[in-house]
């Protein structure tokens, strides 16, 4: 496969995964803002998904509709859903012959939907959850279409590398922002809604309730969202998939490149596999998450150097 094509597939997929994560986050934050506007702040979400600094974020953080407009339809925000979908679609457009026609139509329809004026109008006047759900459904259709129509070849592998790398980074980011807001005093959030919304924003509340009895505890949340290999948004799950899809690229032709990246993924996987909540907390959760993010970043750079460099 052409390096340029691999690069575009990878980024198309990263942008779609980011779009999905962002929409989920916006939806849950909006719901939280309806619970108690005094306690709630949009600042963490804005810091995660936009380039706003503390001050700018603070300025609009009490107005949910302004935040949603900025994050969903603002042209000037390079990380708005509109711009992310446009980038995903442009990447898809340049590799139309490597994704299925169904996938291309799905991306293209999503793009045209995002350009409709009615989305801003809805966000201004109507129930934002309805419109966020509509957009989330477009993401889901994209993921489903990819799963059902794409052949399990090299293209599919690069699409999944982008997807799981992005997801791993996202979960690490969300945990980092949410936990660092507590300054290590995890008992401070005695209010269960804090933990509830954290789990909801990574679609993990139901699993948590089924697994753990007796309320919310920071250690349990770390266990589920970092170590549980069966939870699809955990860091462990992302790394495991990253390794599995990367293994499909094994080939005699680029032995050195493959080994270099495989070593990095394997190292990260082992590190998480042989951690416990206890060792993570002892080492410092924030440090652990920072290191994990750096590892993901370096894997991304290594892929770029060994597989996507074409100019």
């Amino acid at each position: 496969m052409l390096s340029r094509v691999a690069d575009s597939l990878y980024w198309m997929s990263r942008y779609m995964e980011r779009c999905d994560g962002m929409l989920r986050m916006l939806k849950i934050n909006y719901a939280a803002s309806q619970d108690d506007m005094d306690e709630f702040s949009w600042v963490p979400a804005l810091k995660l998904f936009s380039y706003m600094d503390e001050e700018e974020a603070g300025a609009i953080s009490k107005n949910s509709r302004d935040v949603l407009l900025y994050m969903v339809t603002a042209k000037e925000n390079s990380n708005s859903v509109l711009n992310i979908v446009t980038k995903a679609r442009e990447n898809g457009r340049s590799v139309q012959d490597h994704i299925t026609k169904e996938m291309w139509q799905c991306l293209n329809d999503f793009y045209h939907m995002m350009r409709e004026e009615s989305i801003s109008d809805w966000l201004k006047k109507d129930d934002p959850i309805t419109i966020l759900d509509t957009l989330l459904k477009q993401c889901t259709v994209y993921f489903g279409t990819t799963d059902v129509t794409m052949a399990r070849g090299e293209s599919h592998a690069f699409i999944n590398l982008g997807k799981f790398l992005e997801r791993g980074v996202q979960t690490a980011d969300i945990l980092d922002v949410k936990f660092s807001a507590l300054d290590g005093e995890y008992d401070k959030a005695a209010d269960t809604t804090y933990w509830k919304y954290l789990l909801l924003s990574i679609s993990g509340l139901e699993l948590y309730l089924k697994t753990y009895r007796g309320g919310f505890e920071a250690a349990n949340i770390v266990e589920q969202s970092v170590l549980n290999g069966n939870f699809p948004r955990s860091i462990m799950y992302s790394v495991k998939n990253l390794r599995q899809y990367f293994e499909r690229l094994r080939s005699d032709k680029n032995y050195t490149s493959f080994n270099e990246v495989m070593f990095m993924i394997g190292k990260l996987e082992s590190k998480i596999k042989f951690s416990t909540t206890q060792t993570i907390v002892n080492e410092g959760l924030s440090k652990f998450l920072q290191e994990t993010k750096t590892d993901f970043l370096e894997i991304g750079n290594a892929l770029n150097k060994n597989y996507f460099a074409y100019s």
Partner: protein, 482 residues
């Protein structure tokens, strides 16, 4: 209002050949379609038009117009009423195009090798040497199977007596074939069952035949030669066509930056290292193909690709240097070529063409300029044209001055009226002028033409210019099986 009323409002100018009407009655080949349309209400027709637009948009059959830093997607206008060609008309067209292509291919081989046709004075030497598309680099280079024109899109028009004329030979990188394919798919969606009921011949073979021909050109005799389609990139207005063809043939779509030449071989940069390329279907013009030989500033091409080509390590389709054969001044010699090489009379007629480099002809044209179309010999897409009947005094004077400066670069033709075909516009059927571009594929096994083509239509009332850049649209084109 019912559609039958709308058909009664269809007025045809008596000096124009209409594809649907003759003496106020519907021609045989259109009868089934007209009957079908008459069962529909205006509302239903509007809905179908709407559906067609939505399908084009959703499938990304669009081109992007960039304004104020933002891309806006546009669709090429599509008229929902098909243009219908009878079996016997098609038979005539097919024979005529095959004959013409045979002669043009022989001309290209001759003009880059022994030049018999120049020595025998059939085509003037200076006519060939003054053509900017005549390329010295192609001299004495034997292209595989002596085929230069693998893909052509020859434009035909129909005069008021109903006979077909050749308007232009497009032998370089003709575009529009994806619209032939997509327009048919859209018609299937908006008029269910109508196509089989009318015995319309299928056009879907096109990518299969093209792929078969491309594979057969591979210089390496291997089981799976690497065929690629070279595109100028995402921002080219025909990008949609490039991706469609690549997808339908299952070949790699590459840009110049994906390719590299090493030791006179062409490679593409892949995730597993370099992979040798055997056949390149390029949609990049000669000028931009190789910065070492042609336009030095070109970023669309590949340095060294011409040397790889001349060494025979890679096949390039269409061949380089074809522009000398579809030059608008050379055009007038094609009937003579057919007689010279094939000893046959041309089946399809040429539009009479005046060479403005010839003093007598130029004077004649200047005297009668209001009845003439003047064209630049190496422009396409409807650019640089003067339509004598519609131009102002001032435009004519300016244009004349330009001609005097370099008369070789201009030709003139009497204005031909073009046949009209019904179009659905704002709730009524209106006649609009059309042309026809069938796509012919030439491989080692001979010339094949899929029964169909692109009908381009001048959507402005009274306009005779069908190019998409000048407000033209397109129609699905049916060739009937019986």
């Amino acid at each position: 209002m019912h559609t039958s009323e709308l058909l009664q409002k269809y007025y045809v100018d008596s000096s124009t050949w209409d594809e649907m009407y003759r003496n106020d009655s519907v021609r045989e080949q259109y009868r089934a379609v007209v009957d079908f349309l008459q069962q529909l209400s205006i509302d239903e027709l509007n809905k179908k038009e709407e559906l067609a637009k939505r399908l084009f948009m959703s499938q990304g059959i669009t081109f992007t117009v960039y304004s104020s830093g933002e891309g806006v997607e546009k669709i090429f206008p599509f008229d929902i009423i098909p243009r219908i060609i009878t079996a016997s008309e098609w038979d005539h067209i097919e024979k005529g195009i095959k004959q013409r292509l045979k002669a043009l291919n022989l001309f290209l081989k001759d003009v880059y090798h022994n030049q018999f046709i120049l020595k025998d004075g059939v085509v003037p030497v200076d006519m060939v040497y003054s053509c900017p598309h005549y390329l010295r680099v192609m001299h004495q280079f034997p292209v595989p199977y002596d085929i230069y024109v693998h893909i052509s899109g020859i434009d035909l028009i129909r005069n008021s007596d109903g006979s077909f004329y050749i308007l232009e030979d497009n032998l370089r990188t003709p575009s529009g074939v994806s619209y032939m394919l997509e327009n048919r798919e859209i018609t299937k969606r908006i008029f269910p069952d109508l196509i089989p009921a009318n015995h319309v011949r299928s056009v879907t073979e096109y990518p299969t035949i093209l792929h078969k021909n491309l594979v057969s050109l591979s210089p390496r005799q291997i089981a799976n030669p690497t065929v690629v389609l070279l595109t100028p990139g995402l921002y080219n207005s025909a990008y949609f066509e490039h991706t469609t063809l690549a997808r339908l043939m299952g070949v790699e779509l590459v840009e110049g930056r994906d390719l590299v030449v090493d030791n006179h071989k062409v490679f593409m940069k892949t995730t597993t290292g370099l992979q040798q390329v055997d056949v390149i279907y390029r949609r990049v013009d000669d000028d931009f193909l190789d910065p070492l030989i042609f336009n030095r500033g070109s970023l669309l091409g590949v340095s060294g690709i011409m040397n790889a080509y001349r060494k025979g390590n890679v096949a390039i389709v269409n061949a380089v240097g074809n522009g000398v054969a579809d030059d608008k001044a050379i055009y007038s010699y094609v009937p003579a070529m057919i007689r010279y090489y094939l000893n046959e009379e041309p089946i399809l007629k040429n539009v009479p063409t005046y060479q403005l480099a010839n003093t007598e002809e130029r004077e004649y044209v200047f005297k009668n300029i209001t009845n003439m179309v003047v064209k630049k010999t190496n422009e396409s897409g409807g650019y640089g044209m003067l339509m004598g009947h519609a131009a102002s005094e001032e435009e004519i004077t300016k244009y004349k001055a330009e001609i005097i400066k370099d008369p070789r670069q201009f030709i003139a033709q009497p204005i031909i009226s073009l046949s009209s075909s019904p179009c659905y516009m704002n709730g009524t059927l209106t006649p609009r002028r059309v042309d026809l571009r069938p796509y012919a594929l030439c491989g080692p096994d001979g010339i094949e033409i899929v029964p169909g083509g692109l009908t381009r239509v001048a959507l402005r009332e009274g306009s005779l210019v069908v190019n998409s850049s000048q407000g033209g649209g397109s129609k699905d084109t049916w060739v009937l099986g019986k």
